[in-house]
Symmetry: C2
Subunit: 349 residues, 2 copies
Amino acid sequence: MVNDFTAAETFRRATIREVARLAGVSLGTVSRVVNDKSSVRSSMRARVLTAMEELSYVPDAVAQSLRTQATWTIGCIVSDIANPLFAGAVSAAESALNEARYTMVLTASHDSTERELQILTLFQRRRLDGLIMTVARESDPRVPTQLRSLKMPVVLLERALPIEIDAVATDHYTGAYHAIRYLLTIGHRRIGMITVTTEALPGRERARGYRQAHLDAACPIDESLTAHHGLSAEYGSIAAHGLLSGRNPPTAMLAGAGQMIGVIRAARSLGLEVPRDLSLISFGDTELCEIHAPPLTVVRWDHRHTGQAAAGLLLSRLSGPRREHALKVLLPSELVLRHSCAPPQASRT
Amino acid sequence: MVNDFTAAETFRRATIREVARLAGVSLGTVSRVVNDKSSVRSSMRARVLTAMEELSYVPDAVAQSLRTQATWTIGCIVSDIANPLFAGAVSAAESALNEARYTMVLTASHDSTERELQILTLFQRRRLDGLIMTVARESDPRVPTQLRSLKMPVVLLERALPIEIDAVATDHYTGAYHAIRYLLTIGHRRIGMITVTTEALPGRERARGYRQAHLDAACPIDESLTAHHGLSAEYGSIAAHGLLSGRNPPTAMLAGAGQMIGVIRAARSLGLEVPRDLSLISFGDTELCEIHAPPLTVVRWDHRHTGQAAAGLLLSRLSGPRREHALKVLLPSELVLRHSCAPPQASRT
DNA sequence: GTGAAAGCGCTAACAC
DNA sequence: GTGTTAGCGCTTTCAC
């Protein structure tokens, strides 16, 4: 690599060898001081410390890693770093890992399995100590295969894979179930839902909650009312437009936080008033939900808690007692009633 | 480090030496194949490739880094990973760096200079190739000092430091100036502003824009109408409450996207209607601004563009021709008129 | 075009 | 307690 920045400075940092020479002690002794190993006479330690200070010595973590085979680095793969739903979890995981002296490298897969596989190979080369990741498409067998061959502890975030693997997920099933049941209870019979792909756990679980709530209420299910796709606002808008402008439109809609803005846009452009003409429930609580007039009823869960749990699971693999079986952590979600739902108007049924 | 995960598997990955032995060639030849160096007879290359395949050989990036002194890793420090204003820039920078084969390690400083200093030391130990960062408090001399001693290319994000250093920033001055001038033009004389600390560039530049616009319009400045502090919604709410419930309250308010939700909350609780009783302009466009009723007029800039520019500057240091002087990139911001501003009501002046 | 050997900076096992 | 030494896995002269 051509790094003319450092090259031009003709600068070389001090090595442990130089510290040893200046302090008049052996290599090993300096190493012991650096690593706070016991058994170093305090007079020697002082001399070493002085020499280190003198030379502005900074231990080389790369060399340490090569020698000890530990990099103190955890990889993290999410589809999109900027997505607020991931950001909270990633941020919390990063904090927790930091406290345990790990550093996080973060990469975006942009929902591509190919990219994920590349990143996994890269992480393997770099000898990362562990990995927290979402998986773009759970059905692709290449990811679990490569995950195995990584030989490093992995924690799945909001995903399920048909292998023994630690995982942290939110209980989207119960969240969706309660939300739908609530809507059915206040009289809705045609409930639309726009949420993420069923290729991944959250979308599947929400679909399951949707179905089960309808079944339990003996309400017929119209498959055309649900859509599972990308989580962008654009998609939400298009899908919502389609659903709401058809004949016999839904009287209530659920949508992921990402798509909700699109749904709101669509509702506005169609002149629908919330909750009079349309009841709304968001999966995931954001500022937007609170500031909306009227404030949106939401299915809420704690993003930071998800990240903390993932970091905890990983750390327990890294330094805890050996664990045979994979651990699955399921975190709760709750229905928070605000003011975006009302019984359907008779005129619209 | 105790990593009983790998230990229990009693697994050792193949080394370049083993590949060489299996292929019946020398170490050097394998290395040449791995690094796509010229001058390897194709018959040899084939044998090496076969052996690599056979042993599932994966090069050890740690060893490569020790030897070549390049880690292909860029550090990134922001105050809060989950903050949507940073997330866009960080995400864009990560993508750009990835394409140039770099990996990003991301850490949060939580606005603490002490933490920043710790992280910088950590990055130095790890021999990162470069750094993109915000600085919590520009006035603290310890950060620039340590930045120097890092001897690695650094790009500042939305910050200014009294040293020769590459930097990318948004033109918050012009954005603020235009926003205030607009409010003054439509008749406001008492304009409140709640934004980030003047310890950092954006807050200072907005304050400068505020002042200059008032000066140019010959409108007297009431210092009590501006507040520079933390960027949380809670703070925004408290500050806005104070301003709006005092006697002779402002008829218009500007606030950072983070604090805006607090301002909206305060306005609601005081029964103020936007824009009739209070005009609002947000620094930074978010979904919230669009979804608010009425949609908020905003000062907008492209977060992703900021991140791309930062990555570009860094990459040019890393592999471009040597550059003597620091480069400063100033990115534009624009005033987007929506529907949250109106002339002040005579009754309230 | 290929092989041999030195060494990147460090830790840990072993002598003393 | 402290010094000596081997070697982590790789790249890169330098001979041939």
